[in-house]
């Protein structure tokens, strides 16, 4: 069911674009962009909802509640829920679009993996995923997996004359773009945000880019390209929403805590 609803349409969509452009790298870029564009309504809702939650942390009443009931977790939760209802904010509104997007992103990821078939069983599975009336496997295969200096089916390394090793440039770009995409959406700490929240956010900002970089370093460059394009589109989407914190990218600059607003 997962296969027929998610992966098979994705593979056919990706390979249809490939059949038009004739290059898997270009097809991955276009397909990722199109998919992200289709998911944009969900992403926009997620951005809006998370911004509302961020605004809430600057709310004077919210900060007062945090301070007043910091030793009574149950009461704190009750008061927070009251405030959510009062301000018409749903704490789950930012999670729901993410939850809906997650299987689609995983499916996209699996479709990419299966498309860059470089072994017999992978190729057999790929052929079986194609809609025969839509795409002709015998014409499509072998896929042109070369893109710039990369082979989309292999981990990327850039070999420079004089160097005895290859530089994982795409993995480096993945680390940088993941760092930027997570850092610029992290608001400066507000009075209402706990130390724990700030600490967890900081850890995510450090470990997530490293994890993505490690995946890009070890897995096929087609996936690394997908990560890069996804990150760039994400940065763009947040930028057009107007709520990005470019100042977070300046090294050594300490974030200035946002003052509480007078909203009640």
């Amino acid at each position: 069911m997962w296969d027929s609803i998610i992966i098979t349409p994705f593979i056919n969509g990706l390979l249809w674009i490939y059949s038009v452009v004739g290059n898997l790298g270009v097809a991955i870029i276009l397909f990722t962009a199109v998919t992200r564009l289709l998911l944009y309504p969900l992403t926009a809702r997620q951005i809006k909802a998370s911004q509302a939650m961020q605004e809430l942390q600057k709310n004077k009443k919210y900060i007062e509640i945090q301070e007043k009931y910091k030793n009574d977790k149950e009461r704190l939760a009750q008061e927070q829920m009251k405030l959510y209802q009062e301000l018409k904010i749903s704490p789950f509104a930012s999670c729901l679009p993410t939850i809906i997007q997650f299987p689609i992103i995983i499916g996209l990821y699996q479709a990419l993996i299966q498309t860059v078939a470089s072994a017999p069983i992978d190729l057999l599975n790929l052929i079986r995923h194609l809609y025969p009336s839509f795409l002709n496997a015998s014409i499509l295969i072998p896929l042109n997996t070369r893109f710039l200096w990369m082979d989309m089916g292999q981990p990327e390394r850039l070999f420079i004359p004089g160097l005895s090793f290859g530089i994982p440039t795409l993995a480096i770009v993945v680390v940088i773009t993941t760092y930027i995409s997570t850092k610029i959406i992290t608001p400066p700490p507000s009075g209402g945000a706990s130390d724990q929240t700030a600490m967890m956010t900081n850890m995510m900002n450090i470990y997530m880019p490293l994890l993505m970089g490690w995946l890009a370093w070890t897995l096929s460059s087609g996936l690394a390209l997908y990560f890069v394009v996804t990150n760039l589109i994400q940065i763009f989407q947040y930028a057009i929403s107007g709520k990005v914190y470019w100042g977070n990218l300046i090294p050594g600059r300490k974030p200035v805590a946002i003052k509480a607003t007078g909203k009640k």
């Binding site: 995983i106 993996i113 470089s118 072994a119 017999p120 496997a137 724990q196 850890m203 995946l215």
Partner: protein, 352 residues
């Protein structure tokens, strides 16, 4: 505070594991290969090559001494006199002592996978690689020449002793001079060739394509003598017996065709993909299918006997010295040996 920190790190790790597990990077993305001489059988078992005594199935040796996930073996080893030549998915080709499995030499010149066995002809090792090159080596692993194609070479070529006939995923069959690696001719076919060709004594090359076409090609000049469209993609070499060719296809049929003109004699529907090459077993033909069935056919196309194993029979079947060797993919055991009447002689269980 510390617990929260651990939770964050753990959740990132879980995310990484989910993504990694979604990649489908499993050890099994091809099927194993087997070859045999009079006294021993050699087969690839994921991270190792195992040599067994042909009559009892007792292990003689295993290579490498310490298997590693970075070295995956699927291509059947090629037996060449006192050595066994085998390539892996990391692009390493090695020569091993046939008696003890000790490494004699390494060739590290390839950048891609060795998907099928190398060919050994006139003391030359022809090693086709997924990096779109064919490497010719002497029996000590020294490079003699390289032929560059445009796409991956998967299937083992054939040779008449002076010319190498190598099929490629780039839709071409290349005829290459064995002595110096120069191109003699190439035949442009309808789609990728992933199965081995079969070279008949009269100089005709029979091979099938993923585009469902079986070709008969003149080895002298690459001209197509005839071609025939089958029901599914062809993943392996045709088998010849008498005046007929027997070839399985992805739609689950065994096609019996006249060698002379490609006309259909009979079609046997197994309703399960037949990807591996069949084998001639005395005066019968044996095939394996995706649902794990071994089917033995008489020359008239009647079923002589069948056996069913767990797993999928994708690998080429090999019949040598009275033993039929069968390697199920994802089966209970990696190798079974039968006699010609379907009695199981032995099977192999890897030691833990």
């Amino acid at each position: 505070m510390k617990i929260n920190r651990i939770l964050v790190v753990l959740s990132i790790l879980v995310f990484g594991i989910i993504l990694t597990s979604c990649t489908g990077v499993s050890a099994t993305n091809s099927w194993a290969g087997v070859s045999a001489n009079d006294t021993a059988v050699f087969f690839t078992n994921n991270t190792s090559i195992v040599a067994l005594k042909a009559d009892t199935g007792t292990q003689i040796w295993s290579y490498p001494e310490k298997p590693a996930a970075s070295r995956i073996f699927f291509a059947a080893p090629a037996v060449a006199g006192d050595q066994v030549v085998v390539g892996d998915y990391s692009g390493l080709l090695v020569g091993l002592g046939v008696r003890d499995g000790k490494e004699l030499w390494q060739f590290t010149g390839a950048k891609g996978r060795y998907v099928d066995s190398p060919l050994v002809v006139n003391n030359t090792i022809i090693a086709q690689n997924a990096d779109a090159n064919i490497y010719a080596l002497n029996l000590t692993g020294n490079l003699q020449w390289t032929f560059k194609g445009t796409e991956a070479f998967w299937a083992t070529p054939v040779s008449d002793g002076t010319t190498v006939f190598a099929p490629s995923l780039d839709h071409n069959l290349y005829a290459i001079d064995l002595a110096n690696g120069t191109l003699k001719w190439k035949a442009v076919l309808d789609s990728s060739i992933v199965g081995r060709p079969y070279l008949a004594a009269d100089g005709t090359i029979y091979l099938g394509s993923l585009g469902k076409t079986l070709y008969a090609i003149d080895s002298a000049d690459g001209s197509i003598k005839w071609k025939q469209t089958l029901g599914g993609g062809i993943w392996s070499a045709p088998v010849a017996l008498g005046d007929n060719l027997y070839v399985g296809d992805q739609s689950g049929k065994i096609n019996v065709l006249k060698s002379a003109d490609g006309s259909t004699v009979q079609t046997i529907d197994l309703a399960s993909a037949v990807l591996g090459s069949g084998a001639v077993m005395n005066d019968q033909i044996v095939f394996g299918d995706e649902k794990g069935e071994i089917i033995v056919l008489t020359q008239e196309g009647q079923r002589a006997w069948t056996r069913t194993l767990t797993g999928k029979l994708y690998s080429n079947l090999v019949f040598a010295s009275g033993h039929l060797y069968v390697l199920p993919t994802k089966g209970d055991k990696p190798l079974y040996a039968y006699d010609a009447n379907g009695n199981e002689n032995w099977d192999y269980t890897p030691s833990k």
